[in-house]
Structures are given as structure tokens and as C-alpha cells.
Symmetry: C2
Subunit: 123 residues, 2 copies
Amino acid sequence: MSALSTAVPDPYAADCPTRSVLDRIGDRWTVLVLLLLSRRSHRFTEVSRAIAGISPKVLTQTLRALERDGLVTREVFAEVPPRVEYALTDLGHTLVEAVAALAAWSREHFDEVLDARAAYDAR
Amino acid sequence: MSALSTAVPDPYAADCPTRSVLDRIGDRWTVLVLLLLSRRSHRFTEVSRAIAGISPKVLTQTLRALERDGLVTREVFAEVPPRVEYALTDLGHTLVEAVAALAAWSREHFDEVLDARAAYDAR
DNA sequence: CAGAATCCTCTGGGATACTG
DNA sequence: CAGTATCCCAGAGGATTCTG
């Protein structure tokens, strides 16, 4: 697989890029939020409603982590009632594109995975 | 982001392809194993040694899950001592390529993420 | 509205010992 | 060698309540 120029990364190295990215998008909600924000900016409650089932605590955690990594911006408007807009940064958009490659693989090969599972479980 | 033709997937749908793939590669070891096997087939102990820190139990779990999904083959040789070879399937290779896109993003933008974190933490 | 605070559950994963 | 069998723990994430 010549596409991979790197050796096997060290999962213990906190500075391992691959590890870091996987930790970020590997959780339950981050990718959903990224995909949602790739359309347009949303406010907190909008995200909450669009991604049914996420609790406010976890949504805050997710958004904060994305903001900290420079993938999402958080803009507070001094209005009544308060309004906070979340939007993807340019960097965030590039990540979404990379994630899209994975999503594309999923759509393309998902049936094969399902078949494999069925065959495996049938034994 | 026109690269994404799908709306936001439903994280609760067990049959959501994106969810399924993320669950698979989101764990601690799967990507490491995939990258390792993308080179050549390995036997159990070889993987164990190459990926330092993984316990036999977790390695077995990881390999079983990959086998079940049709990403890895498990070939037992009736020898003494026993020998078991694990190798990527064609499907597994295609997934590794998709993962490589993510790894590429990581290498390309990791410094920006680190800068963003430093800036965020400095506030 | 946009969270912060609190409590609780669940499970991925680690350590260790044992076996065909 | 290639696992299986147990026991254990931390931390991600869920449910709920409260507030500037």
C-alpha cells in the first residue's frame, strides 16, 4: 500500500497526528456536528434539535473540543435572548472533505460488510 | 460542501453506514492493525509485538471484528506449534486507502490544530 | 436561549493467569 | 503459539436539574 508513507504510528504518542484525529472524529457525535455545520452556521439549539438525542452537556463538550482545535468558531451575540452561532472554519471544511472520503467508502462498500457479517454469523 | 450528498446521518440507525465505519475505526487499535496488515500478512504474535501495549484479549477482539466485517482473513495452519496468519482482504485494502486520506489530512494540518489549541488554552 | 452542574451507567480496554 | 477466561477500572456519554 504505497499510499501510506508512514510506518505504524505509535498510539501512545500524544503527538501522533493519526491518533489525534481519530480520537477527535472517533467519538459518537463529532462527525455529525461537522457534517451539519458544513452546510451553514447553526446556533446551539439548532444543532441540538438537528442531532436528536445529544444531551446539552455532550453537545457543549463536542463543540468546545472542535473550537479548541480550530475547526469551529463560536460567535456570541449580545442580544436578548442570547444567541450563539457555531460555524466551520476553513480548516474545519478541509477536515469534512477528508471525512467525506470515509463516508464515500461506507456508502460504496457497506453492503459487502453486511454480507460478510451475515456470512460470519451464520457459521 | 457539495462533496456531501447525504444529509446528517442518524446516529441511532444501526444500519447507518457512516456510523458503522466510524465505530469500527474509532477504537484504539483497529487502524493500527489495518495499517500493519496493509504491508503483509502477520501472525498473532507478530501483530502483538509490532503494536506494543495491546493485550491479547483486545487484539483478539480487534481481529475478530475485522474478520467478521470481511476486512481481514484468518488462516489457521495445522502445524506444531500452531500458526495463524492474518491478512487484509481486498475490501480491507480499499478501507486502508480511505483511512490514508484521513492520515494525510492529519499530517498536513496537524500543526494548525496544535496552534489552535495553544491559542485556545492561552485564553 | 445557551449552557453549567450533578449524578449515574455502561463498556472499551488493561492486567493477569490459564490452556489446547 | 494462539489464544480464552476473569477481574477490574477510568472515562465517555446519558439523564436531569438549575441559572445568567
